[in-house]
Structures are given as structure tokens and as C-alpha cells.
Amino acid sequence: MGLPSGTRNYTYAQDMAILRTRTHWALFIGFLVLLFGAPLYLSGYWLGVANLIGITLIAATGLNLLVGYCGQLSIGHAGFIAVGAYTTAIFTNRLELPFLVGLIGAGVVAGIVGLIFGIPSVRVKGFYLAITTIAAQFIIIWVINHWSSVTGGFVGIKVPYASIGPLVFRSESSQFYLIFTIAVICTFFAKNLARTRVGRAFIAVRDNDLAAEVMGINLFYYKLLAFFIGCFMAGIAGALLAHWVGFMNAEHFSLTESILYIGMIIIGGLGTTLGPILGVVVIRLLQQVLTIQLVPFLEESLPLPSGFATGVTPMLFGLAIILFLILEPRGLAHRWMLFKSAYRLWPFSY
């Protein structure tokens, strides 16, 4: 499935290729040109929104590996992002280490913290695991707020611009290139990981962990590996967020954010590489468009009582999410697959 009519795979390399046809390559290169040309046609604000989308995408991709592929429900993802953000803040601000050390350190430390909170996954699963990861969210934020000599506590901590050697990522567009280069790498990594032995083991654990264990899959190893990789990406996203905003306090990483991340990967489509991309873009744009575009439009064009349109925004946001879940419970990625299939078969119905 997924290849145009008449296209056959005759070699292993062809069978494994992500981009199989010339059309695939053309579309992919066109997408990259469009993406990396964005600073040429987007304003500072929309570049800012794009940067936020890129950072969120990295974290959501990690969460998708953990929840979508390996089936380990985590509702503490914002906590792990916070670990990454504070690690890079401490490394680059307090210890004055280079950005790259902060970035990698953020991923590693968040991954290790994820391992610690992932240990209960060996004994509990489903809602019970969700509760233990909520605990991670609260414990991490508590530590950040109270270990003030290191983290700056409730006041927060400043984070310098990201820099590699003499190259300082000051402007929104330079930060865009940094963030999206890493986002593309993470997405490519996730896409490939899902096709490896590790990815298949994740899926086996998700679908039936007892059967997976009987087949010889080491549950302890693979569940913790999923936690490490998921939280590593969360840490990388946190580091980029910290350098982008320039100042961190724990209020950036609320439980609401963690739940929103779950919402993003569900709306996008669990267990697909495309899912987090679609989910993140839809949710982040919805947040911005409702506030920036819809509220002023409603207030100017309709005789509504003052403040009414603002109050309607959270309701519309909730309604949009509910409609997505009712109309396409398998996520936007599934809808995209259906569209592609229909397009390839058109004008035939099957």
C-alpha cells in the first residue's frame, strides 16, 4: 500500500526507501524548499509561531514514540521538557558551557529523569502509569521551584542566545533554521526508528505486552528505552524553548501543557510520524488564530457585548478538539492516508 499503480520494488533498498518515486522526491524537496524558505516570506510574528510549532513538534514526536508506538501513557511530558529547559539554562548560564553541550546535556538529563519515572511502567500500565507520570510533572516542577539556588526558583532563570562557535542565533529567522533543522532530524529519526527492530518491539509491546514478552522481547529494556528516547526529545525541545524565550520559570510547564501534548498526538494520529506534525500545527495555529484573528473579527463585525468574543475562544477551542475526535478518532494522519488513497485511485472507487 502507498505506492502508485505500476510501481514495484525489486530490491531491498527499494523496499526500504522512504521516498520511492520521483514524485515523492519532488514533493519532499519542494516541501523542504518551502519550509526553509519560510523566513523569506513570513513576518517576525509568524516566524515566532513557526518556531513554537517546531519546538512543540520535537517534543510531540518524542511523546508519540512513547505513547503512540510503545503504548506507555505519559501525562508528565511538560515536566520532562522543563528538565531539558532548566538543564540548558544551568549549563549555559550558571556554568557558562557552550550551547551544544547544553543542548545534548538537556536531552541526556531529561532522558535519565524519564528513565527514573519510567521504571514503574514495568509493573503498571494504562491509567495507572498515567498517574505515575502525572506525579513526575508535579515532582519536577516542585524541585525546580524549590531548588532555587540552582534553578532560580519561582523568579526563574535567564538563558543566553543559542550559539555555535561564532554563530549566534539572535534573529527569529536564524532560530528558525536551528529549530527546524533539529525538528527535521528528530522526525527523520522517529520515522526510521519505527521501521527498525526497536520500533517493531515498541509496537509489539503496545499491542500486547504479554505476547511480546512471550516472543522474547525484553519489556523492561524496551519500555525504558521508549521513556529515554521520548524524554530525550522532550529535553531537546525544552532546551530550544529556553534559548528561544530567553527566560524560564516553571509556569511555562503546566499540567495543562502536558495534557495539550497528549491532545496534539491524538488529534494528529497516534503511532504515525505524520500525526505529531499535523496535530501540533493544527493545535498551535488554532490557539493563535482564534485569539489573534477570530476575536478581533467577531468584535468588529458583530454587535456582540464587549468581551463576549474573548469568552467564546476557549469554548471554540474545546469544540474544535471534540469535533476532531468525533469525526476522525484515528487522527488527521489517517484522514490524510484516506485522501492519498482516494487521489491515487480516482476516478475508481477502489
Binding site: 513576518s43 510574528y45 519561582f154 523568579v155 538563558v159 527569529e172 528561544w244 530567553g246 485569539t291 464587549s306
Partner: protein, 421 residues
């Protein structure tokens, strides 16, 4: 002959044109041309966990701007265009909105809360984009950069209340014991920093410091511990909803009897009285930097007229006064800047315009804010514009002033080794 007449007529016409044209253009240059306006950015948490404060503050910001534009003719003759967004008390939104303001050519931006400004300040400081927050904490502008405080900060509240308490309320011997209940953001942290810096000097023992979240539903455990320590005074620096929770819990534990309660200015509003109930808040002290409703000050009549016309439910809410005053200050800043550097320089936007707003607008401020709060005057090295507060007490549900204006001295927090750590 006819030709000569035509020639003379032409010369006269030309001469007239030469005289009239510069005069006409000089006259025309005095007023704004169509489309000329001064853009500013404003955001308030109209939805989300701080909506009980953000909603009236947003109304007041916009109502006051309508007043400025329709009745005062804008700032320096130029209409003020407000880009207003609901921040939802969300850090990610605040960050993108600051960029939006810069993108749209706003000359400065305002926020309501210290938390919002803490999320915005580094982005603004990096861009040298001036920002003004209604409610502030020392961490936002110590050391001073491009962020300004409209009023004294949460640290000043604590100092003013502690001074008042020691002079007028404390009748015991020795040093009174004070417990702190603080919101886990700059609202609470500002008070904590002031207590750390000044408590010993004022002769007060801080016996406990507890924190709570903006969404807390019970503080029973913290208050049980506090009660066991037998404090003489409990100081709460928080927003109305959590303050109401704490006061109700304190009442249930019997802590309201025999313990003086003091509140920072984020908490003592009409919303608190409405949420907690008149009986719970009776006798509670609080510090607030604006006048009360119906006080006899020059700006009261116009503000009351607008609130009754546009948002009658906000009448009596002191947060409305705060943000109304904030908009007046913004208009005054723009007026100063237009007067000192001219519209064209501001219209160019960018860092030069921001610098003009700061050096020729904000730093030239000497404005009485229509008497609605202490005068907004910039002092070198102190980014608080107004420095005056009053102590209030809630009596039969009415927030009643018990002091005149008290000047809040500047505390150089950055000189303390613990500040910001």
C-alpha cells in the same frame, strides 16, 4: 495690452501660490494625515486562571483608550491604535504576542500581571522593546532595563504593610511573628524578597513561608502548620481566588481570630469580597496603590461615566482603576514622545522609536494620573513609575482606606547576594 494684463495676472497668481502653498502645507502639517496613528500592544489574561483580574483590567484598558481617542484627541493629536489580545495567562501565547506587537509596529506594550511580564521580559529586553506592567515584582526590573512598573511592586506592598502594622496594629512586646502565604510566581516572590530584605530591620520575625498555586482549592495543611506556630500576623500575596481559599480555610481553623491578616495588592479587590464573602474578609488589611471608587479625585468622574456606560459590572472593582490609569499613562508617554521627537521618528518604528519612547516618553514622565494613583514620575535607576501606596481595611464588605499615601522607598535588591537565586 491684453497680453500684458494676462502676464501681470499670471505673475500675481504665481506669487500668491508661492505664498499660500507653504502656508497651507504648514497648516496641514499640524494635524495627523489619514492613516497616521500611534500603535501600542496590550494584553490581559481575560480568560484562564487569572481571569477574575484580567477581565476587568482588559475592559479598563480599552475603555480608557476609547476615552483618550474620542475625548482627548489621542496622544499629541494622533489617534492611538490598540492591538489587544487575551493572553489566557499562557506563557507560550505571551511570547508570541510580544513578537506580534513588534511585528505590527507597536511602540510599547503593556501587560496586567507580573507573571505575564516575566514570560515577556527577556524577549522585550532583547529587542529593546519597552514594556509596562500594572502589577510588578522586583525581579522584572532589578537591575533596570526596558521593563517598567506602573505602580509599586509586591515587595513595596509588604514593606508598607509591615511598617503600618508595626506602628498602628502591633501592641505586644518583643518582635511579632509573621507567616507568609505566597502565590508561586512573582506575585508571591516579590513579597518574600522584601520580607527577606527588610523584616529584620523592621523588627519582625518571619516564622514560615508557604507557597500555593493559582488554582489551589485547599491550603488546610499549610494553614494547620501556620496555626501551630501561633503567628501574630499572616501576610498573603496572591490573586483573589487563592486568597479567598486561604481566608476560608483560615476561618475554618479559627485562625482569623487573634491574627492580623494583610494582603498584597493583587488580592485586595472587589472580586475577593465577592468570592470569599463579606463575613470572611471582615477586618482584613491590604495594600493598594490606587484610590478607591468614588474618591474625590479629578479622574474619577470620567472613569465612572465610562464604566457605567460600557461595563457596569466592573464598577467597584479596583483592578479597573489600575488599568484605566495604565492606559492614561501610556497616552501620556506617547504624548511626551510626540512632543519631544515628533511623529515621523516614532512612525519609523524599530529600535530608534523604542529608544525615543523610553528616553523622551517614559523618562520624561511627570504625570499626576488624574489623581487615580500616586504620580507617575520616572526617577533615574528606578523603573517604578508610581511609588505610592495606601493601606486599606475591609469593613462591612467595603475596602476602606486607613492611611494617606505612603511613599515606598526603592530597595536595591540586586545588592543582596540571594536575589534571583
Amino acid at each position: 495690452m491684453k497680453r500684458k494684463k494676462i502676464l501681470v495676472l499670471a505673475v500675481v497668481c504665481l506669487a500668491l501660490l508661492l505664498v499660500v502653498l507653504p502656508f497651507a502645507s504648514a497648516c496641514a502639517a499640524k494635524g495627523p494625515k489619514p492613516g497616521q496613528e500611534l500603535k501600542i500592544g496590550m494584553m490581559t489574561p481575560t480568560t484562564g486562571p487569572a481571569a477574575e483580574k484580567g477581565s476587568p483590567m482588559g475592559h479598563a484598558n480599552l475603555d480608557a483608550m476609547e476615552y483618550v481617542n474620542t475625548e482627548l484627541g489621542g496622544a499629541g493629536g494622533y489617534p492611538i491604535k490598540v492591538l489587544w489580545y487575551d493572553s489566557g495567562y499562557d506563557a507560550a501565547k505571551v511570547a508570541t504576542f510580544v513578537k506580534r506587537f513588534i511585528d505590527e509596529g507597536a511602540l510599547l506594550f503593556t501587560v496586567a500581571s507580573s507573571a505575564e511580564m516575566s514570560w515577556a521580559m527577556e524577549l522585550a529586553n532583547r529587542a529593546e522593546f519597552p514594556g509596562l506592567a500594572s502589577f510588578t515584582a522586583p525581579s522584572l526590573y532589578r537591575p533596570p532595563k526596558h521593563i517598567y512598573g506602573q505602580m509599586p511592586d509586591y515587595g513595596d506592598d509588604w514593606t508598607a504593610f509591615a511598617n503600618y502594622y508595626m506602628k498602628n496594629v502591633w501592641k505586644g512586646t518583643g518582635r511579632p511573628k509573621m507567616a507568609l502565604e505566597l502565590l508561586n510566581n512573582p506575585t508571591g516572590y516579590g513579597a518574600r524578597d522584601a520580607a527577606k530584605a527588610m523584616a529584620d530591620k523592621l523588627g519582625i520575625d518571619i516564622i514560615s513561608t508557604d507557597e500555593h498555586t493559582a488554582t489551589t482549592i485547599s491550603e488546610m495543611d499549610a494553614l494547620t502548620r501556620i496555626k501551630a506556630a501561633k503567628p501574630d500576623v499572616l501576610y498573603i500575596s496572591s490573586t483573589p481566588k487563592p486568597t479567598a481559599v486561604i481566608l476560608k480555610n483560615a476561618r475554618d481553623l479559627g485562625l482569623l481570630t487573634g491574627t492580623t491578616i494583610g494582603l498584597g495588592h493583587a488580592g485586595i479587590t472587589k472580586a475577593l469580597v465577592d468570592i470569599a464573602g463579606v463575613d470572611v474578609v471582615e477586618g482584613v488589611y491590604g495594600v493598594f496603590p490606587t484610590v478607591n471608587w468614588d474618591d474625590n479625585v479629578p479622574g474619577m468622574a470620567k472613569m465612572t461615566e465610562y464604566v457605567k456606560k460600557l461595563h457596569p459590572n466592573d464598577y467597584g472593582n479596583m483592578d479597573y482603576i489600575t488599568s484605566w490609569a495604565q492606559s492614561l499613562i501610556v497616552a501620556e508617554i506617547l504624548k511626551n514622545a510626540v512632543k519631544n521627537v515628533g511623529y515621523d521618528k516614532l512612525a519609523k518604528g524599530g529600535v530608534e522609536a523604542y529608544q525615543a519612547i523610553e528616553t523622551q516618553g517614559i523618562q520624561k514622565l511627570n504625570y499626576d494620573v488624574a489623581g487615580l494613583h500616586g504620580p507617575a514620575i520616572y526617577t533615574q535607576g528606578d523603573n517604578r513609575l508610581s511609588k505610592s501606596v495606601r493601606v486599606f481595611q475591609i469593613r462591612k464588605g467595603v475596602i476602606t482606606p486607613v492611611t494617606n499615601w505612603l511613599e515606598a522607598p526603592m530597595i536595591k535588591y540586586e545588592d543582596f547576594p540571594w536575589f534571583g537565586k
